[in-house]
């Protein structure tokens, strides 16, 4: 019994000394700022900053080779925290989130043909320009869903992509992958959008979609500061403040109900899968410390 205790105890002691020495000898010198920055980054490796992972962005920031405001997913909270760690000043920029500029699901838009094959918008777009008659509308096959690192976009039961505005971080991956360029980044504060992407003339649009913008310009006449007309397609001028108040006036005027207020219960379909909540991320700067500064 005693020999066993002594024997194992000696082995443990030797191992502990060896490990302790190895930890010191083979230690990697990491800038402690890099460790701190990495801890406060979202950790989704979404690539929105342009770096392949949060770790590589953290090391680039601490090395001084990357600006501190690239993490669009983390938002202004992360930028502030990084600025605090790096002892730099913060510049503010408006947060952006994605919006799918289309309402043409299978109840509203006509199909060119019945598509069979790979469930991918880019693949379907290769076959005679995609199954939708509208050349600019959402195909609803989910390439954007596949590429989103935050589960912030989903396809409704009627085949239309819709962004979850709470979860979207504006990283831009869905914007890049969409073959129809129907997803755009807009300021997070903008809650009213014209949901159409087609520049075709009104008569043509009517042949393939019940809710497409026909370029009549009534919205622009009603609220000239909020709406811009560009080649038969109206869109919101996002550079204006107080849009919610102004732009809402034109919603009822639009003959095809293209303009939608996202604060008023849109979309009416439930998303296909309910999305789990994001766990809280630790902030380096506590609210008390922020208040004291």
């Amino acid at each position: 019994m005693l020999t066993a205790v002594l024997g194992l105890g000696q082995i443990g002691l030797v191992a502990a000394i060896a490990l302790g020495w190895a930890a010191k000898k083979f230690a990697v010198d990491v800038d402690e700022r890099e460790t701190k920055i990495r801890a406060i980054l979202p950790g989704a490796n979404c690539g929105g900053c342009g770096f392949p992972s949060c770790s590589s962005y953290a090391s680039a920031v601490s090395a001084g080779t990357a600006p501190i405001n690239l993490c669009r997913s983390g938002g202004s909270a992360v930028v502030e925290n990084i600025a605090h760690i790096m002892r730099m000043k913060v510049e503010t920029s408006t947060a952006q989130i994605a919006v799918v500029l289309c309402q043409g699901d299978d109840r509203k838009a006509t199909l060119k043909y019945h598509y069979l094959g790979l469930h991918d918008c880019n693949a379907a777009n290769q076959i005679a320009g995609g199954p939708k008659l509208c050349p600019s509308g959402c195909l609803g096959l989910g390439s954007c869903v596949a590429v989103c690192a935050f589960s912030a976009i989903a396809i409704t039961a009627h085949g239309l992509a819709v962004v979850n505005r709470e979860r979207c971080t504006g990283c831009g991956k869905c914007v890049a992958i969409c073959p129809r360029h129907v997803i755009r980044l807009a300021p997070a504060t903008a809650t009213i959008h014209v949901l159409c992407n087609s520049h075709d003339k009104g008569g043509v649009v009517r042949t393939y979609c019940k809710v497409g913008c026909i370029g009549c310009g009534l919205c622009r006449k009603a609220v000239p500061s909020a709406y811009v007309l560009d080649r038969f397609l109206a869109h919101i001028d996002y550079s204006h403040a107080a849009l919610a108040v102004l732009a809402a006036d034109a919603i009822a005027i639009c003959p095809n109900q293209c303009i939608v207020d996202f604060t008023k219960n849109y979309p009416d379909d439930r998303l296909l899968h309910p999305l789990p909540a994001i766990p809280d991320r630790p902030a380096l700067v506590t609210d008390d410390e922020k208040a004291q500064r």
């Binding site: 043909y113 019945h114 069979l116 094959g117």
Partner: protein, 341 residues
Amino acid sequence: MGHQLTMSSSPHLHGGDTTARIMRRVIIALLPACGVSIYYFGLPALLVLVWCTLGCLASEALCCYLSKRPLTLADNSAAITGLLLALNLPPSAPWWLCGFGAIIAIGIGKQVFGGLGHNPFNPALVARVVLLISFPVQMTNWTTPTPLGRGIDAVTTATPLGEMKTAIMLTGYLPTPSHDGLTNYFVGNMAGSLGEVSALALLIGGVYLLLKKVITWEIPVSYLATVVIFSGVMWLSDSQSYPDPLFHLVTGGLLLGAFFMATDMVTTPITRKGMIIFGSGCGLITVVIRLFGGYPEGVSFAILLMNAATPLIDRYSRPKVFGYDRHKVSHKEKMAGGREL
């Protein structure tokens, strides 16, 4: 053209064979073995088959519901796992053993990995091994076969492999053979799990699978050939201590393993060369465990170990892509642009 045309990428024609049809053929191939087990072991065998299959179907339905995915029972794979699990259990297995096994097989063996096509290990074998290690007494409670009996008054006995292992461990030599032993082992008149007993029924099923092109010859042939060769070498070196290859072929789960478990497509290599390596590896490990290991039967462990090696085997058994074989490409010595894989 009144209504809409369909458009798709080429090719537009499909052979018509589906996953569900392939699985159905496997079920049909298992029916002789199921029938023979009921013939020899009676009602308990039927109950084991029923509990395992229902348990697997229910587990898969539950997993689909919990992960909010469409129900996948129609592809018949859960039913096959149920049958295979049942065929791996002794006839005396109680209902709760079957149910627990089913949950392990489907829940842990298949669904946590993402469902059909994603599991690295054979689900039925995962369950069998878990049960064997967790409930060794119930899992080794073998009974004597009673042809056409109701199987209620079953007599506990040892399997031929179990007898061999005990005899070797106690005496170092094989037990005295019974002269009609091999014939009995071949038709199924021996103790063992439901699917182990009848070599004849399993061979019928195996040949059916080969004829219907559900499986190809590489794995069963390489598996059985390796067993015969390796066990034959040992038997020739010392026939008192090692049984002959024919004994190995008809006892234990070898035929069940070679035709139905080691040929499970999801967990085995996709290249022909890889399949031969896989089968040979299984054969070698099976014989090593049977002759030198602590357990009397090595098929389950052998197949699971080779399942683990499947990705590696796939990677290193890639066929030579057309146009890279230097000997076939050009009579001239060097040719610009040719690269080995």
